[in-house]
């Protein structure tokens, strides 16, 4: 584990450079963000890399470290109750209402894939819901690349992933854990900037957008919500993060989770 003095240093660096709060207690997070960077920059260890930062060898490295720490934290089954509600209640109801049509689910802002893979594992374990198509998108090519590889570090597979899911769906491969091809192949990936016109990304019955909004300024968030509204199929549902606000275009569809349906606009309610 990275020594606490090094973690304190990284935390202070992020605060000074970007006003970014990094909890020095989160050893796993600092390790998992900085060790790939240290390897890429040809350092023998993460500690050696942090040592170079401390001695201000190269300012570019300091910024690269801050950027790596600034990526949103991603974990399997984040807020695990949301996933059991989706798998046990929301998805079966939606699937029934779609009949023979495939149910289309989109993880918008999927990061390194933990959210959509969590859902994929649940669905793989509960066959019989009919045909379900899983899509995932992110702005970052690097995140998408990692997501598609389905390879996670020991720290990452311990964040939110129940041990029984780990033994059922992963194989050890060197130092990493590789998700089974069966689950990986359930997901289709593409790069999408949520700020772009989303009327051309297709229509989805269930959209998960649980981490992007909290990182956006209010105007940008409103624009993204407008886009998601356009991409939501009639009677489709949207899942946001716990503290996100859905705005006027959506109404809450469940009392105990951040599940929303599109507000029927005037034209539609008249028709």
């Amino acid at each position: 584990m990275i020594p606490i003095a090094d973690r304190d240093f990284v935390s202070a660096l992020c605060l000074a450079r970007a006003g970014l709060k990094v909890d020095p207690e989160k050893a796993y997070l600092i390790e998992s963000r900085l060790s790939p960077l240290a390897r890429r920059e040809c350092f023998s260890s993460t500690e050696a890399f942090i040592d170079a930062l401390r001695h201000e060898v190269d300012d570019r490295l300091a910024w690269a470290a801050v950027e790596a720490m600034a990526l949103p934290e991603s974990e399997f089954f984040r807020d695990h109750r949301v996933f059991s509600q989706l798998a046990e209640e929301v998805i079966p109801v939606l699937a029934r209402s779609r009949g023979l049509e495939p149910l289309r689910i989109w993880s918008a802002g999927c990061g390194t894939g933990q959210e959509i893979y969590s859902l994929a594992m649940l669905l793989a374990d509960a066959p019989g819901l009919g045909k379900i198509e899983l899509f995932a998108s992110d702005l970052s090519e690097r995140s998408l690349e990692k997501a598609q590889s389905g390879r996670y570090s020991q720290f990452e597979v311990q964040r939110g992933l129940p041990a029984r899911m780990l033994v059922r769906h992963f194989e050890k491969d060197g130092e990493s854990f590789a998700l089974s091809p069966r689950v990986r192949q359930m997901v289709r990936w593409r790069r999408v900037n949520l700020m772009d016109d989303l009327s051309r990304v297709g229509q989805y019955d269930l959209i998960l957008c649980r981490s992007a909004l909290s990182q956006l300024a209010p105007e940008a968030g409103a624009r993204v919500l407008g886009g998601l509204h356009a991409a939501l199929a009639p009677d489709g549902l949207l899942v946001l993060g716990q503290n996100d606000s859905a705005g006027k275009a959506f109404v809450r569809a469940a009392p105990d989770m951040s599940l929303y349906a599109a507000t029927r606009d005037a034209a539609r309610s008249v028709a």
């Binding site: 989160k26 974990e75 695990h80 020991q154 992963f170 050890k172």
Partner: protein, 122 residues
């Protein structure tokens, strides 16, 4: 207050685990191997047990099998905490009666996540 028994032959690991668990609101007891842990559990069953694998006297695997066969021994949530990180080893621990599994090295976030998943955090 919920109770957690930390079973590990390393005093350093017991100290680290104690700090994490106390921060999460647990009352913590310590044992240095399976025999000592079994003596604790016979007196009073804890709510949770953080259990090392490789220990002298009685190892974690033997302990969890004995615990599950003992009166009231199905109640505690048992979380293995070991350097063993092969899938087969983890499966063996779960099959023997463990509820969850942590691979060392670990941190407070991982422990909190596992205990929350097992319903032990209010």
């Amino acid at each position: 207050m919920k109770t957690c028994l930390v079973v590990d032959d390393s005093r350093v690991i017991r100290k680290v685990s104690r700090r994490i668990l106390e921060d999460l609101g647990f009352e913590v007891a310590e044992a240095s191997d399976g025999v000592e842990a079994m003596a604790w559990c016979t007196a009073v069953m804890p709510d949770a047990i953080l259990l090392d694998w490789r220990m002298p006297a009685m190892d974690g695997l033997e302990f969890v099998k004995k615990l599950r066969a003992a009166p009231g021994g199905e109640a505690p949530k048992v979380v293995f905490c070991s350097v063993e990180n092969e899938i087969e080893a983890i499966r063996e621990a779960l099959d023997a009666g463990a509820d969850e599994y942590i691979m060392k090295p670990f941190d407070g976030g991982i422990v909190a996540g596992k205990l929350d998943y097992l319903g032990l955090l209010a």
